[in-house]
Amino acid sequence: MKNDHLDPNRLDLALADPERLDAQDAAHLAECPGCRDRLRDLSDDLARFSRAAGTLVPDVRVRIRLPADRRPRFRLLVLAPALAAAAAVLVLSVVFFRGGPEPMAPENTAPVRAAFAPDPEMAEALSLAETDPAQDYLDMVEAPDEGSIQGFLEFAVPAPEDDLQGRRAGKGGFPC
């Protein structure tokens, strides 16, 4: 037996890698109660360390979510109603503000013109429809002839004495 006690470094080596300890040190360690106690003291502290590291850890609360069973993330769930509302507003605004089909713009009448071209009357009608009305017509619309309107009114709403139906009503009442 080697009389020298193992120094701390050789004790560490005995713990970390006992195979690297030379034969004399190994023999000394096997027979020296003092060195074995020092080695056991270190070994016990390491065991205490392991147990403390195992027990002084919070309980695991995480539930492992694997890719196959991943649920929508919380943030998306929170935003879902807002996203749905935004989509609804978008759809409604498109429906209400866009309105129905737009009237055919003059520049889009080329297909109609081509279709009407063989018929001279239709072509003329289209031409009239596309050109501004004559000034005479506009003057007539803006300032209608007082006399002609009066004549039309007399024709449409006759005076009671000229009203044939009224006369009949006075004599014998309405036939109906």
Binding site: L42, R48, F49, S50, P58
Partner: protein
């Protein structure tokens, strides 16, 4: 065994491993989740199903390393972040006084270890891996692992504050 069952079986160990390194419940939970997603996505690369545990630990070690780098980068580029978190982690993570005292001492001790010594020490005494498994996780030879473990043990032996606390905690 279905992967979901494996995840259930190892989630506690993974969480403990990552909590010991981050000292933050939230970070440890996020990283634990990420470990299993990465593992599932790369399961075809696992050649020997019997080596699932060290393979999973190697994913966790790499993820934690990336996490630590991002955290350091944030610390460098964000003075506000640094001011908010002068010490390691939020106190709410530690649920009682003993836990707080223990992890504070552990992190003070781990600060005196090199990164490889720290990884080897934690894999051995927190994660309870064998020398062979540690070598697989760290992609080093068993001999190299033992050398790092020997150096870490020398520093642990000198860590009287932590050792005395451990004796008081568990006489």
């Amino acid at each position: 065994m279905a992967f979901g069952a494996l995840a259930d079986r190892f989630s506690g160990r993974m969480f403990r491993m990552l909590y010991a390194r981050t000292r933050s419940r939230m970070d440890a939970e996020d990283l634990t989740q990420e470990v299993f997603i990465r593992a599932m996505e790369n399961l075809h690369r696992l050649r020997d199903p019997d080596r699932f545990a060290p393979w999973l630990f190697s994913i966790a070690v790499n993820l934690h390393r990336d996490h630590w780098r991002r955290k350091k980068a944030a610390e460098v580029f964000s003075l506000a972040w640094k001011r908010k978190r002068p010490e390691a982690d939020p106190p709410e993570a530690e649920e009682n006084v003993a836990s707080a005292q223990f992890w504070t001492r552990v992190h003070a001790f781990s600060g005196r270890l090199s990164s490889t010594e720290r990884e080897v020490f934690f894999l051995r005494f927190v994660d309870d891996l064998s020398i062979r498994e540690m070598a697989e996780v760290l992609k080093k030879s068993e001999s190299a692992v033992k050398t790092h473990l020997y150096r870490a043990l020398s520093k642990f032996r000198a860590e009287n504050g932590l050792r005395d606390w451990l004796k008081e905690f568990e006489p």
